[in-house]
């Protein structure tokens, strides 16, 4: 089996970076890590398909021996679609956990859609926190162990 050294190197780097990032505590980083590892696996599937070749299944145009193996490409496409769907779901999950962490116990009573929305109304609903990773990480760290202490902390900040 022949395989491109560049692709192998790229796959190795993606795996290494992806797994490292997945081990972080922040959910967004875990998601980014998952996406990198998922793409590394897709590359792995591409690599196992053997040498490059002409377009598969179409016969009679070029010499048929030079065809690429179509099966791994099909597997990859399916895997990409599945990863895409799961990424969307985890994003929704991250948004929801941010929502709950921002609003605490009131989170469930605030509707998702704000009628007659203005910027002022939004600011009144949400805490004006810079939503970088550090903030999310802090919120997650708090909500993991001491939900009550965290809620009290939020009250104090307001």
């Amino acid at each position: 089996m022949t395989a491109s050294a560049t692709l192998i190197l790229l796959m190795a780097v993606l795996y290494a970076v992806g797994i490292t990032v997945m081990l972080e505590r922040s959910l967004t980083r875990v998601l980014i890590g998952f996406m990198l590892v998922g793409n590394a696996t897709n590359l792995l599937i591409l690599l196992v398909s053997g040498p490059n070749g002409t377009a598969p299944i179409v016969t009679g145009t070029v010499s048929d021996e030079g065809m690429a193996d179509p099966v791994p490409q099909v597997l990859m496409l399916t895997a990409i679609v599945i990863n895409f769907g799961l990424t969307a779901f985890v994003l929704a999950l991250i948004y929801r956990s941010w929502w709950l962490a921002q609003l605490g116990d009131q989170g469930d009573s605030v509707p998702d859609q704000h009628h007659g929305e203005t910027e002022a109304a939004t600011d009144a609903t949400f805490d004006a926190v810079d939503l970088d990773d550090a903030a999310l990480q802090k919120i997650l760290a708090d909500s993991d162990e001491h939900p009550d202490a965290h809620n009290r902390g939020m009250e104090g900040e307001r």
Binding site: I45, F89, L100
Partner: protein, 520 residues
């Protein structure tokens, strides 16, 4: 007959589409889901009768022969699993419908519950009938995606927290599974299980071992085998009662089913029996020790679930026909009993207001019927004769004695100890929750309750108790009747399990079914 196999998957998917369209009509959704699952149950029962007398049904999807097309293989094992899962899904659906009607649908957004539930069913069925490793992966992803939604239903803080653990762990295991498929494709040039089984034996032994272990790691995470079981007790108990019941009964068993397929169809030459036995031993002991420390009934049951997976791994590790027959019987028993116990616990929560044994008592007086339902399930799980849990374990231990290695005797001892400790944990629940008068709960002290730990973010106190609707009671009673039926008809069922195990006697039974003309 070959039309039935794809229907098992298509019907739930169509049902999901119809239920999604009918989102505004909740009664209609219940009717659609119940009808779909009833049809699948009937179809799989017919299929089981046919397969049992005429051998496996193999369907080439789209008319493409294996190994170029996707094959669906309904042999005895697959059909038994489909039938039992369909029955469980139906029972739990009725339970959930009863709960929804009683609570006025305020607690769960039912409009997405039914479609997701049916997609979960379709994913389960496709995983069982998959004759193609990648199709198995797709089946796993279908049921996992549906389970993510069901676990985080209503999106409360506790469920999001539990969901994050569950989802990240599942995603990791899926990636490992996908990478294993890539390795296997690189080594054998196919993803059709029957052809993998043929080609794998030409590979060097160490390559076979690596491929087998990478697949098993992925499946062991899904089956919650120690040490990859840490995620289960943290995530399952927070979901709504019916969802927990389905997850506990079915999702881990799909992993066990995949392990059986890996070990008995694809990698028959790989000898990993001793490591598997050690893992089974650790799963049994560590799981049940976790259960002993829990005050919450749902968490306790989740730990017994982890522990009892050890019995099935033990049976697979022995690998003899008698052991496989006992394992298959035990899987069926465990699916039904574990689901039933979680449903009964859901009823206890409605009557008592909490599932912590520190804070509830007098259920026997408050609701004798719920108590009887829980009691039968508990005795069955604890392995009291003559219930099916006892029969399954006896079958396993007999096969272990027949193997006769020192390690198998250690496992038999550990299995007996686990059975007794399960009984201890469940009888303690019985004493506290059912027998103890509700007036004694305040300030009650007993050495039995020392050193119990509550759920980590347990709010304490009890919620308002609710009435138990007839439909929920009827669904749970039906499931308990099924567990009793499993005991009453244990003889014929054990014979069926023995015939199923005989399919795995030689690896060629499966291969010949997929390639009737022989492998080229």
């Amino acid at each position: 007959m070959s039309a039935i196999v794809p229907l098992l998957v298509l019907l739930p998917l169509l049902g999901a589409a119809v239920a999604l369209v009918l989102g505004a009509y909740r009664r209609a959704q219940v009717v659609v889901s119940a009808l779909t699952l009833t049809t699948v149950t009937v179809l799989s029962a017919i299929l089981l009768v046919y397969v049992d007398s005429n051998g496996p049904v193999v369907v080439d999807v789209g008319g493409w022969d294996a190994p170029f097309g996707i094959v669906l293989v309904a042999d005895r094992l697959a059909t038994i699993m489909v039938l039992v899962s369909a029955l469980m899904l139906l029972g739990v659906l009725l339970f959930a419908a009863g709960q929804g009607i009683a609570d006025g649908d305020r607690e769960t957004p039912v409009s997405i519950f039914h479609p997701t539930y049916l997609v979960l069913a379709a994913g389960l069925f496709v995983a069982f009938v998959a004759g193609d490793l990648f199709n198995l992966y797709v089946g796993f992803e279908m049921l996992l995606s549906a389970s993510y939604v069901l676990l985080t239903l209503a999106g409360t803080g506790a469920r999001i927290r539990a969901g994050v653990t569950y989802i990240i762990v599942s995603l990791t295991s899926s990636i490992i599974f996908l990478a294993s498929i890539a390795f296997i494709y690189a080594a054998t040039g196919t993803v059709t299980m029957a052809l993998i089984a043929e080609r794998v034996r030409d590979l060097p032994a160490d390559v076979q071992l690596i491929l087998c272990i990478s697949l098993l790691v992925a499946f062991c995470i899904k089956a919650a085998v120690f040490p990859m079981s840490f995620w289960l007790p943290d995530s399952y108990p927070t979901a709504p009662a019916p969802v927990t019941a389905v997850f506990a009964g079915l999702l881990t068993k799909v992993g066990v089913y995949a392990i059986i397929r890996t070990d008995t169809v694809m990698f028959t030459d790989v000898d990993i029996d001793i490591p598997l036995m050690v893992i089974a031993l650790l799963t049994l002991i560590i799981g049940i020790l976790g259960a002993l420390a829990q005050a919450d009934i749902k968490r306790l049951l989740s730990f017994t679930l982890v522990s009892h997976i050890g019995y099935m791994i033990f049976g697979i590790a022995i690998g003899s026909q008698a052991a496989l027959a006992a394992t298959i019987f035990y899987i069926v028993h465990h699916i039904i009993v574990q689901t039933t116990l979680f449903l009964a616990t859901g009823l206890v929560e409605r009557v008592g207001g909490t599932t912590s044994i520190n804070r509830v008592g007098g259920i026997l007086k408050a609701s004798p019927l719920v108590s009887v339902l829980f009691f039968i399930g508990a005795m069955n799980l604890g392995g009291i004769p003559p219930f099916s849990g006892f029969l399954g374990k006896v079958g396993l231990f007999e096969a272990g004695v027949a193997l006769g290695t020192p390690l198998s005797y250690v496992l038999i001892a550990a299995g007996t100890a686990t059975s007794l400790l399960t009984l201890y944990a469940l009888v303690r629940v019985w004493n506290m929750v059912f027998w103890r008068p509700s007036g004694d709960v305040e300030g009650y002290t007993s050495p039995l309750l020392d050193s119990l730990s509550e759920t980590p973010d347990d709010p304490g106190g009890t919620v308002r108790t609710k009435s138990v609707p007839r439909l929920m009671l009827a669904a749970t009673t039906g499931m308990v009747a099924l567990t009793v039926g499993l005991t009453l008809f244990a003889g014929p069922l054990f014979d069926l399990a023995a015939r199923t195990a005989a399919d795995f006697d030689s690896h060629s039974t499966y291969v010949d079914a997929v390639f009737p003309g022989g492998v080229e």
